[in-house]
Assembly symmetry: C2
Homo-oligomer: 330 residues x 2
Amino acid sequence: MPSGDLVVGVDVGGTSLFAAVVDTCNGKVLGKAKRKTKAEQGANGVVRRIVKTIRESIQEADLDIKNLRGIGVGVPGPLDPEKGVVFRCVNLGESWTNFPLVEALQEYLPLPVVIENDVNAGAVGEHTYGAGRGSRDMLAIFVGTGIGGGLIIDGKLYPGVRHSAAEVGHMVILADGPLCSCGARGHAEALASRSAIERDIRNALERGADSIVPRLLRKYKRTSITSRIIGEAYESGDKVTREAVRRAQYYLGLLVASCVNLLDPEMIVIGGGLLERMGEEYLVPVRRVFREHQVNKNSPFQPRVVRAELGDFSGAMGAAVIAQRRLAQI
Amino acid sequence: MPSGDLVVGVDVGGTSLFAAVVDTCNGKVLGKAKRKTKAEQGANGVVRRIVKTIRESIQEADLDIKNLRGIGVGVPGPLDPEKGVVFRCVNLGESWTNFPLVEALQEYLPLPVVIENDVNAGAVGEHTYGAGRGSRDMLAIFVGTGIGGGLIIDGKLYPGVRHSAAEVGHMVILADGPLCSCGARGHAEALASRSAIERDIRNALERGADSIVPRLLRKYKRTSITSRIIGEAYESGDKVTREAVRRAQYYLGLLVASCVNLLDPEMIVIGGGLLERMGEEYLVPVRRVFREHQVNKNSPFQPRVVRAELGDFSGAMGAAVIAQRRLAQI
């Protein structure tokens, strides 16, 4: 069953690799696989793990590699999709700087490979098969350790002139506010990400506040305050966590409003670990703040702020779609 | 000399009306005219003044109305270009609410009329004939009493789903900051507009600070601190004014950075009264702040932040271009 529509999509995360064999005609996932990234093995080590994960997903789909049209890979960092080179991946380590990922993968796999930024891929996945289906202009915002985004304009991924559009995590929301991972202050990522919540919880703990979080860290044998821990502490009514989450939701609402006031899209899709864990309830205050700050309040049409639907596999599915589209143009 | 390319563009400002007969083939202005808006005469009164201004510009061009293809009008407020109805114009008064401007103008003028938001028109003007010539993706930001913008994507005006894109004045830059004209807090307009500078100067004067501004208000017989007064006070080294301007420049730099991080355009064109008065020097600190906060610092290509070139007539020229394009589609 060889077909131009069967593509493997891969999402290379800081912690996990996801691969999915997608029938891009209908968005059906025929097989999938997941394994740890093990970034400490360096770029070449991770490439071998990506290859294994791809092979596993093809096997799960009961297909042969010859049945496939190509491979799309989403990577967490700036890159040049034409040259197939990753500029850098802060989360994955130094060995990814100027790494020729397409070339490296093609040494193992007899298929054309297309690479794209992981959040751009996630946005395309949600637009094609998820919460953004049928919309023309859509912005996806993924809230995790950082905050990333992907912009769909006129039904297509809008990459920007330098392939760095939709860096919503670095929009200024609170001038002179907390320090961001990029070195500047007051960006959305420093206010509304999981890391911002973690920082606020830790600050409260240092001030001696009472919280269930230290106990949960021991329970799950974690050193960082994960989305799961934040979710569990929030649900148990932990005051410190509730306050930190409430603040992050407020700033996320302001970010959504800023984006809507600039882009006036049909839809904002919000995804990422925190949303996956905490669900629809997380978005209620975000929507309220957004509405207070968006300028076109009186319009009968109001942009929808909705949850991503594809979960962990949005990036892999989007990478498959992007690969299918680019390869169809060759 | 009848031609499909000769169009009158009009810009309806809160204070003045501008009309220009434009040869849209080459951007040549064949005739222009200007008069006070006199908003107190109400929408129908202003319509008659618009008609006079248009007739004057045609006369100046030594043309007859029969030589013209149509009329484009830029209006400061949200509107429906398809229906030809203005939803409201805060600066022009209540009589503009749901005002059928196209119908009203066509009672006097035997030409098709197209309407557009004034800052969108200004952006199209700058993109077609001004500082943005030849760029593909461009954002224009006009700083005056308020802050407005217009977005060009893929060479075309990007209106957004509700025709309200590029409301850059209402992007949140300092959460919980000063009150904006829209009723929310911390928006760019409340931080970086001429009104924000005026507010800061007045606050300093109330605190008893020494400043040349009261003397300039008397000299020019003004009650509001105009761009001209701000410019003159700034140049004379007035500390209160310098401090207020410096703050506005800082926030404008943050706004530019936020827009670039979301859109990754080729170019940001900045215009409006304050820029017209203060010139290139105004942009130097804006560019510095922008560079510190934009995420893609290492790219060999950096988006340019440039001054608008068309001055008072950018809106009128852009309105002409928009009219020519829309009428060519009919």
